[in-house]
Amino acid sequence: MIGILWSMIRGRWARAIAVCALASATIAIVAAWPAYLARADASMIATEIAHASTSEVTTSARQVISVNVGIAAPSGPDASGDGGSSDTSSPPPDTTADTDFVPTETTRLTAPWFTTIYATDIDVDTASVAPGASEQATIPLVLFRQNYCAHVVITSGRCPVALREVLLDDDLAMRLHASIGAALNLYGVKQTSLAEQRSKGVGLWQALPAYVAVTVVGTYRVPDRDDAYWGTEAYFSTASGDRGDVLPILTQPGTIDVLPHSERRENVDAELRTSAVTVAALPAIRSQVHPFNTSIPAMLDRVDADRSALRVVVPLVAVPLLLLGCFVLFLAAGQAADVRRPELAVIKLRGLAAWDRWWLAVAESVLAVAIAVPVGLAVGGPLARGVAAITLPSPAPATTTGASAHGELAWVAVLLLAVLGAHLRPLVARVPDLLRHVPDRARQWRSVPLQAAIIVLAVAAVAQLRAQTGPPAGLTSVAPALVVAAVAVVLGRLVPPITTRVGLRAIGSVGRRAGSARRLGTGLGAIVLARRPGAQRLVMVEAVAIGMLGFAFAASVAASQDRATVVALDLGAHRVLSVGSTSPTQLLRAVGAADPSGRYAMAAMAVPTASSFNPPVLAVDSTRLAAVANWPAGSDVAVAAAALAAPGPAPITVTATSVEIDATMDWSTSTLMQVALSAVFLPNDGGLEVDADFGLTSLGRHTYEAQVPSCAAGCRLVGLLVVPDTDFSATVGATIHSLRAAPAVGARGVDVPLGSSAAWRVVASAPGYATPVLSSGPDGLALSVPAADHYQDGVIVAPIAGPYPLPVVATSDATANAIAGVDGSTVQVRVADTTAVLPRVARRGELVDLNDLALAMVRPNTVLPAEVWLAPNAPDSVVDALQAQGLRVSSERTLADQRAYLSRQGPAVGIAFALTAAIALVLLAMACLALLLLVDRSERITELQALRTQGIAASTARRSLIVAHAGLLCAAAIIALLGGALAWLLTADRLPVFVDPKASGLTATNIPIGAMAIGVGAGAAVLAVIAVSGALAIARRLRASGRMSR
């Protein structure tokens, strides 16, 4: 038996190799699939981590300990200025510290995925400094953070190693005039309450008498303040209020122990170790972090979304690819079985036992598949790597094999079933039937159940896909391929009758019309096409292959356009610079100075909202909106900019060094009650807001005066602040008769026009209590504050400057009528224009003018996260220009970066894979076509030789060849285009390859027919290579046989 089998394989080695190659390719795909997914997972994890913000890759545990280190010591500063160390006796027992905090949290966060960093910091005061140093209050942190020396650049000196050695930031050292070796006194400091601030007239921070002298051993700068090493503790926050720039003083933990402090903060920060984040580790990582103090879960959610999207898209073409591989193998084995029918007849004629008959019939194909299994499994790995290199922008080594033995075995079983199934009919046929050469017409009817099943499955898949709300899964994930296949089944059945009709008409017109030879050739070719056994099957295979290529290419183009649109809207401009936190006024001034023309730079700020239920608000300089912002198609940016640029009252400005207010105060309770009155100004030169404190008022009408030297060059009146005593429940009345500004002490003041109450608004917050009422009369503005004890932050009466309520451009889904939380106050808004989508805030949000917002803020120096949006024509020097205005560019995002990021996420990776797999599908169809042409070749040659003998011209025979081969391809291309279009219509909007189809204008009926036609055409062109080659090969054989001549 072995000899017979060996002779069989050796005699038909080409066919055996073809079957083996087909089976190997299919098994390689099966093996490559999970391996590719594993690589893609690793790549997407690496992408998300690389793109993540610091809070998305770090988590921390923190405790604040109230201690009294050195606070009780009576020693204060030495009059000689030499300082004096406080007594470093042991602090009193502290009830708030958890001594197990550090080891507990370190243990919890030292799973393999984290790198932990311990840090501790306290606040100190350096106000008592060497003569000549800056008067500006400096309340830096004294910080120890593990391994800090490796993350700073030592600009002079060295890192501290001994007790009481410190490392200063370059700017702080300059400000303090501290050089290497200098002594520096560090005082304890505490925060005061508002009551203390009011009653004692002190600021937020109060230095304590105790101090410790430390030695400056070096200076440093931080190369990257946003490095994940520094965690999320905001060690480098910019100036705000009384604190000034907070620049840490770095030291060893022992030095912190001896410094006077009343509060100490301990942190255990954990940073994700990128290499340790694997798919298997994701659930465990998620369980280790608390979502309230880290955004790692958000990053993990994106990873999960990427993986889910990829696993939905990959089967889209991978399953049809595998099924087509099995089908082509079935065809190849079936063709082999058909050719061997007479041989099988001989085997049956000799009365061999059933096992011998089966084995002789199927051994050739089964052995080919058996050899293909190890070959395919071996090729699967390199194939996965190759596909990963093509489709993954940043391929990463897989952390798991991803292999599924069950899956591979299942597909091998399917292949064997396909091979055995192909031989089933000949094996059960009778000897006389095997000896006959007449095609079995009943075979056509046997394929009807399979074709009907395809149609039914397609209908079911589409119905289920459109009914379900979740992503496609199971049958629905191959819905597009099923639709294309169903169209191919239905329209493919029309090919034989249509081509028969065409052929008969063409032949019938021979001799009656001009061009008879051409018509004869056409007619013969059409008849051959109609009657070729398996032509319908071949049309279906080709239509599915190039139809899926068209669909995948169209999806790729549409998804790319979608990503580009979404990125443009999501980012908002060509380049976006993050410049830390600053006030709106500062930002507008800096951007205006950096780009006076207004052609390429625009200030933008994300306005914090009081609740996540409120729509997000983006504040931009609307005068530059049209020049800089990316605007959604379908709406006019000029209309939006015009809607935002509503006119309004000019702000009240004064140029003065003192202000005087004539007010009548009234409260209805005890005379012990105290009400403070002040006016808040904002200097025009961009300085900090100035509080003209009129002090505590008295009952009745009085005139109060305050000095405002900072307004000598001009200030804007932000508002009048009335702060009642919260120890008494009473109604406080304040009537402002006049406000006068004097340019100098003793000079005659100028009345500030107050106008009516309509030109003012009251800003106060006491939910559940009666709101203050402002009215105007001949005496001036009258403010009544009921239940004044509930207004501990005071009541601000602010002049309305600019349009109010603020005009906003809102999306259709945004319904808020106020912006709350920008500076603790509520700003009323009105919708001046609506649009479907806005830059940055997408489909739900509001756009407001930043200038108008700044005018409406009652705490104008509130810092907000600031950005500068740049147009494509922005010069490279714009960053330097912004930095020269005091803005520090911490990061930059570009359209290209964002597009690259999206292209590395699951949907883009999936569609890239789908396109690659669709190309493989066409190559497989090419193999199928080549196989069938090879099988048919001798029969075609015999037919043509017979026709030539009967007198058919060589050109006619050639034409019939071309029509037979090209006609099949044309039919397949037409069916493919129709099938692909229908599949798009029914399924495209449910595929997770689009980020925001509505934003991109993608709808179910918006079929990218051009891209689809290109894909179909490319597939048909590839198949045409085989078809033409086959025709030429036949022509050559005929010519060689002497029956065809040129």
Binding site: L349, P432, L435
Partner: protein, 294 residues
């Protein structure tokens, strides 16, 4: 009579063949075709017989029935002691692998093209070799019987046309069958080739006693084999034995006249029948023809 096919020890002896009123109808889309319309035929064990007749007369159908490739629509086909209509497919397959050898028309249809003659013979007798108690000749002996000694390693493509036919014969007798059915062994051969093939057939019959039925168009083959049965219109017409033609009375009493007689007396001609002293006389109005019964 039905007897199960048993694996019994036997020597190569011919099988008797009997057909009684065998009818076979092909049912097709265009209507039914009566291929055999009541065939009565008896073949003695070890006898050689040529089935002669024009195309479409039913010769191949009869051979297919004898080979068990089809079952008769009516009538009985006996091969040895086996009623072919009552055997199962497995039993018929076993019979073909041991007792009945078939040589199809066209030598290449009987052999595996990619295997040499040794392997073809091995395959053809594999069933018989696995049947207990069967003694088989050596492949070289078989090849020698058909005049292909020393050609065991040759492939079909290496042989001349007549050698191919003899190779097909070798495969047909490889299992040592008692009945050998050969379809058109001499078609497309020249006279020399035909002689060689017929000599091989005669040798097989002489040395093994195999009953041999040969389907042929060639009347001379019938003469050579000694007995020729003419099949016409699905019935046994006449027989030629030892150079003489005989009309055969069918089981239903009908007689088919020889073709030359039929040309003179077409269907519808009326005879009176007299038989006297072993002579049967058929008298046509005005004409006198005599058939002898000896």
């Amino acid at each position: 009579m039905t007897s199960p096919v048993r694996q019994t020890e036997r020597a190569v002896t011919g099988l008797a063949v009997g057909c009684r009123r065998v009818v076979h109808i092909y049912r097709g889309e265009g209507g039914d075709v009566v291929a055999l319309a009541g065939v009565d035929l008896s073949i003695a064990p070890g006898e050689m017989l040529a089935l002669v007749g024009p195309s479409g007369s039913g010769k191949s159908t009869l051979v297919a029935l004898l080979a068990g490739l089809m079952r008769p629509s009516a009538g009985r086909v006996m091969v040895g002691t086996y009623d072919m209509a009552k055997l199962t497919d497995r039993e018929i397959a076993r019979l073909r692998g041991t007792e009945i050898g078939v040589v199809l028309q066209g030598a290449s249809r009987n052999l595996l093209q990619y295997a040499n003659l040794y392997r073809n013979i091995w395959l053809a007798r594999r069933r018989a070799a696995r049947s207990g108690g069967v003694t088989l000749d050596d492949p070289d002996r078989i090849l020698d019987l058909v005049g292909l000694a020393g050609r065991g390693r040759a492939h079909l493509a290496d042989l001349a046309p007549d050698a191919k036919q003899r190779a097909a014969l070798a495969v047909g007798i490889a299992a040592g069958p008692g009945l050998l059915l050969v379809d058109e062994p001499t078609s497309q051969l020249d006279s020399a080739g035909r002689d060689e093939v017929l000599t091989a057939i005669e040798t097989v019959n002489a040395e093994r006693g195999t009953t041999i039925v040969v389907v042929t168009h060639d009347q001379n083959v019938g003469v050579r084999l000694g007995r020729a049965v003419t099949i016409r219109d699905g019935r046994v017409g006449a027989e030629g034995r030892d150079g003489r033609d005989f009309a055969v009375v069918a089981s239903d009493g009908t007689v088919q006249l020889p073709p030359d007689v039929l040309a003179t007396y077409p269907p519808g001609t009326m005879f009176t029948v007299d038989h006297d002293s072993g002579t049967i006389s058929l008298e046509v109005g005005g004409s006198h023809g005599t058939l002898s019964s000896d």
